[in-house]
Amino acid sequence: MSFNTHKTWFYNTVGRNIHLWQYVENNATDTLAGIRIQMPDEYYGRQLIYPDESITSGLRFEGTAFAEAFVDNDPNELNGNDEPTLANQTSPDEADHVNLTRMLSLAVVDYVKAMMSDGQGDIQKKEYYMREFWKKVGDDQSNKRKMFMTFPVTPFAVK
């Protein structure tokens, strides 16, 4: 049974994989005739060992995913008062919608323009559109966050 997993498990990344490690401070024991005995050839003391137990659905990754990039309906328009129903399109065509907010869709337009400029060898134009691309991505992100800045006003300050 795993417990305190946030303190006793670690990982490191190796290429496309992760390596899981379990931190132990004790030693491997076995029970012989009702008495727990220390196994002579097993780990002992503080060390990192391979996972010492099987856990069903025990490892959970969280991250950004390339999923449902194209859908059949506009993801930014309500269906009456309800959220739109979106079905993934595996072979997208011109009529399908990009599953992004309006601002990010505009950023994609800039990206396509940048790539077209790149193909034409116009690097300055490409750089301009890439800057526009990131600006719109940043705008979209800031729409989700509110930041408050306060600072003291000095006496007699001219503002």
Binding site: Y11, R16, L20, W21, D96
Partner: protein, 92 residues
Amino acid sequence: MTVLEIMERSGMTNTTLAVAFIKDAIHLMQSQVDVHTATWKTNITDGTREYPFPANMIRLNNISIKDTNDSKYKRIRRLAHKPVVAEDTDPE
């Protein structure tokens, strides 16, 4: 916004190339910001340390291990240094 609208706004005429560029743009965004996040779960096997990243994952946010004592997934930390053990040929 439809693929056609993106093509018209950008002056692109090739649909296949436009779709490829859109996919690239989404990958680029997802590498920097959280547009769509997802979770993946896999089994841990006794004595096995190597687990592949999910195939469609772009950027890792965190990794958790199930605490079977209270049925909660708890975030684990990344090792700052590689451990001394490069390979354990008898992990059991």
